[in-house]
Symmetry: D2
Subunit: 273 residues, 4 copies
């Protein structure tokens, strides 16, 4: 299966760039599945339903969220009606929406997409490790399994927690990719058990910024400790950041993992076809 | 000036790989200056004086530390006698050692190397932003200045704080490079004011691990909340990770920034000569 | 039921004072049940089995622990054999020991004792609120119920989380008492639903100290950011701190709550008989 | 000198109760000086200038703030014109207002009031310990000194940091009293060097609440991890909480320290005259 995962879309710049890039990349990389983290699509804070719809129209198959899931209030009802939009599975029972979704490809192949949120330096949710374990427990990957691939978006701050997630499910899922830091990591690899791994997919946003927000005000927050102006997303050209994964349908494991960086200020990388 | 900065050396694997790589890279990249973060050189925790000496012998000009600075007790006296070894400048007054050093090249050019430590998700030190401002206040870069280059190692957890540091001193220093996450970022760029920037240099260590430590025990720490075995560094082949920077001596600003990843599991990148 | 709860015993000073006070208070206050938090009994860090035995001998019915539960390694096997020693219930599955115990009084009355640990400013355990809810779900208090009283030791840092626990179970348990800050609060009250509440029971230890540890070294840790000497418990005369609760066996609810402070430097308070 | 310090006023309930109590207590306890923490006076968030004026009119001599200092925007200009209103001294240079004030009594005696903010589990400000040291450096207490008393409001979360502050300045100031947890501690004492100490003065507010805010919504925040309704202050009768200190003008040291709790749900305590 040929899969693209794009990191946190930030604001209009990130939305526009990702919206334009998805059809191009679907075609160029013969993608079977596109998953996009959209927690910062709406001015950096949350996701509006119309933005989700536009991303589905552009070719995203599944959208994930994160700690900014609830910044736009419309999401509470929308997420109940749209199973392709998931939020971290380790929110407590009773939280709107679900933490996983099985995408069915046109040819009948299936992929389980799961999102969990880290706890180190973050809010105290339920255990993301046992959460992922439970979410994949009823699935087997590969020939004769219930799905051909399992993707885990681990929305977390600490590199240690992300690597622990990768190794914990190495050989049991196709991909563990981190989101949330808005910084692409260069440590993509296939772990020894066959799982594709990358600490952070990076953001789709303007990198002349502080994690997507206008740099002046955002930097000032570290100098001054009195509340400043509201942060606003930077509006320069975005770099579309993510990771391309190829898996073996017979095992669900990764055969190839490569970063994608397109447009904007960062160094450009595009997987060969 | 042609500069190499290597991220946190972890354990024997990282030390050996960096020790072997430095002479090779000095030659291949015609390096003028080599700076190495060595806070995890000693089994992942601290730096022993003999390891520092070996790194200087291998060709390192300046060594930096971080939150693990004091894990090896011998460092308290050694750092007072070895100015080429620096620790974060924003430790309180009375802390052994210094937070900056002016390296003088064989041809008389000079480079100020500064280290500061972040506070977001970390210990409450003095303000690193005002600290860096003070450390560079008496210097001017470029022709007729006091130094030809200024390098800032910002040892910090959060990508937002690191980017805030980069933008705060954009145009005033040659390089702001992050350390501490042990994960190389792929966001190296020359900021609009001319400062080279990279969120994290990554570690020199075995990437089949949890930030350099053996993956089994380290991953288990996120599953179990009772104390486990002592963590030990992973001992597979290290990837030497860092960043290569070229600066204009007339201005001190960056003209080229490229990542370095050599050996081990990560994708390989080497600047052209 | 007449109940005494004593806060965190710190070191020899706290152990000796509590050991001497328990028989005196059992007699003077005609106590039916004595519960003691003992997580810091062993030099401030953990609890040795022989210290637990001595406390049971002195008249403690149930011992609770906290984040220092595992500091003494002997506890791992001991807690499996001694059900009267409990640890926070919201450790993950597989953790040694249990988080609750039903004490049976000589006259056949029964009291459920439960411990949970907070997450605000503390480690990321399972949800303590749902944990307490589950632990008490199979019990009903009062006449015809399964127990006559339910006591919750909420080992937590933040006053907000402790009050949230108190109000969440107001009317459903006899007592919510906090531990961990080592500082007795003066806010003991019977909540509107009938549950006795006190934000922190305080420690049994020497109050000429920093939360029980020798003040010189402990205070220095806030001035210096390099590792200092190992902390050692202060050895002056302890104040035995805790709370006395009287409940109505017919409802399980509190009819009277009063602090206890005996010996040492703090102001002295003793409930009338 | 006879001094009253009142802890964080929360909302209308706290303001009204403190406003009514101050004149009564001034008279009853023959007070020379009244200091009030007012960071939560405005609906729990910040302080409006007219509320500050009303408190001065009621008999407060000095007002202190805390992490909620800037919640009401009018405070930025007001604090520059009203030296009797202070904020934590360890905000970075350039922050509006000052962190200390010398109150001059009608009979010419003088008292230095200082506020600092803790860093453990709080925002990364400048070092509060060196900050207090610097603020008192130019003063000497007692006969022939510059002031007769020095009061430190240490606005902090952790009991350990507060005790460290107390012991660090024991013998050098008249009082170290904590604020911020909104929970009165029962550990008031005169430290061995003569400084009055109390970990937290408690709040002036309705104690049928979660630290002053309506208990339903505030408790729910620990059960649900999606944003809920805005918190609002509880409106039941407040308990006025604080501490009464008597000092020796010849030395500045404490001769007597007693808690005050008046009205509302908590146990009532009033110093004898
Ligand atoms: Fe996020
Ligand atoms: Fe994000
Ligand atoms: Fe570090
Ligand atoms: Fe490191
Ligand atoms: Fe404790
Ligand atoms: Fe504790
Ligand atoms: Fe407050
Ligand atoms: Fe506060």
């Amino acid at each position: 299966m040929r899969i693209l995962f794009l990191g946190d879309l930030v604001g209009r710049s990130g939305r526009d760039a990702a919206g334009a890039a998805i059809p191009v990349l679907r075609d160029r990389l013969s993608l079977d599945l596109v998953v996009v983290n959209a927690e910062n699509a709406s001015h950096g804070f949350g996701l509006a339903p119309e933005m989700a719809r536009a991303l589905f129209t552009a070719g995203a198959d599944v959208l994930t969220l994160g700690n900014h899931a609830w910044d736009r209030k419309e999401i509470f009802s929308y997420i109940e009606t749209e199973p392709r939009l998931i939020r971290p599975l380790n929110y407590p029972p009773g939280t709107p929406g679900k933490g996983s979704f099985v995408a069915v490809l046109g040819d009948g192949r299936r992929a389980l997409v799961v999102q969990a949120m880290g706890r180190l330096f973050m809010d105290a949710l339920d255990d993301p490790f046992r959460g992922v374990q439970a979410a994949i427990a009823s699935h087997r990957m590969g020939t004769g399994g219930t799905v051909q691939a399992i993707l885990v978006d681990f929305h977390a701050e600490a590199s240690s927690e992300k690597l622990a997630m990768g190794h914990s499910f190495d050989g049991k899922v196709s991909l563990v990719v981190g989101t949330h830091t808005h910084t692409p990591s260069a440590d993509h690899q296939i772990l020894v058990g066959g799982t594709g791994y990358m600490t952070d997919a990076g953001m789709c946003g303007d990198y002349d910024s502080v994690i997507g927000m206008q740099k002046g005000g955002a930097a000032l927050r570290f100098w001054k400790k009195v509340p400043g102006e509201k942060l606003a997303p930077a509006e320069g050209e975005a770099t579309v950041c993510g990771v391309f994964l190829e898996t073996d349908d017979a095992t669900g494991l990764a055969t190839r993992i490569e970063p994608v960086r397109m447009g904007g200020r960062l160094s450009q990388v595009m997987p060969s076809r």
